[in-house]
Symmetry: C2
Amino acid sequence: MPNSTALPLVILSEQFARLPGIGMKTAQRLAYHVVSLPDEEAKAFADAIMNAHSSIHECGICCNLTDQRICPVCSDDMRDTSTICVVETPKDITAFERTNEYHGVYHVLHGLISPLDGITPDMIRIKELLSRISKGDVKEVIMATNPTVEGEATAMYISKLIKPLGIKVTRLAFGLPIGGTLEFADEVTLFKALENRSEIG
Amino acid sequence: MPNSTALPLVILSEQFARLPGIGMKTAQRLAYHVVSLPDEEAKAFADAIMNAHSSIHECGICCNLTDQRICPVCSDDMRDTSTICVVETPKDITAFERTNEYHGVYHVLHGLISPLDGITPDMIRIKELLSRISKGDVKEVIMATNPTVEGEATAMYISKLIKPLGIKVTRLAFGLPIGGTLEFADEVTLFKALENRSEIG
């Protein structure tokens, strides 16, 4: 930015621009917005950052992000601990919880195996998952990673480690999204929908 | 968000979602990103907010945002103070400065007259502009508000106040954008381009 812009504004713009998906123009707009906020709102924003950053860590059981020792799902007696749904990120748990249909527990990998990006199996929370399974009564592990190359590879890798232990390993179903139309479905989705077709009635 | 998400994360997401143009999903993504930052980066972000917010105020002359008493443009002896370019926001100054072609000074209105939104002439920096003009050697005022209903109305309102003082008031030219094509120009732009046509050679 030209030097007609004050330095603290430039610094704040640069901070915003470092966030994922925020370009320099948006960052500048956000910086101007923050400067125009009332004192207490700007302070609340800065406090929320520091507070979230300092109080959030991984759950001792499922590696979900939480501000307690054990996350609300793992500490809920009503959840079925014999079913573990394995996801890539904490956001994925939020998505499942919105369905109100899943009553098992989760395990967050915090990443996917990706040799091209230098992410090896020991860099994500696989050993935490295995040690959890070794402790007990797990009957089913649902691999709920995304349907990408890395998601599929990670699901395969983990299932090969778990299956020999005599535990059922399942994968999410893939097909046409509800509300979607054939016209706009890509070839791979349509192929999956065809391949995984089920009998009616 | 369901209560599987830790409260400090929910609070931070809500803070992000209050920023202009940031929806709840993006806000959540940004909040997770901030939590995953190293300590010093999270602190740098929070500090940048507080620092920008506390040190930035309006320039005593042109009302641009600055961390000094007088902004760099107004305190630059090389600028031609007889020409004032009137803009809506500080961001507009950044745009003009990028051209490297304007050597006059600016005046930031911090808004446009908009009766429908309850914004009356006394709520933007018009009296500051008039008092600036009354002090001196101003020869030309360039109305550089956006070509919107409010921008046009504000330009007309101010020019009616200034013209009687014997000062030249001009308006930015409107027409086809450079690099744009006739095919994609809207009717109003094309009409303006036709209306403001100039003789060749």
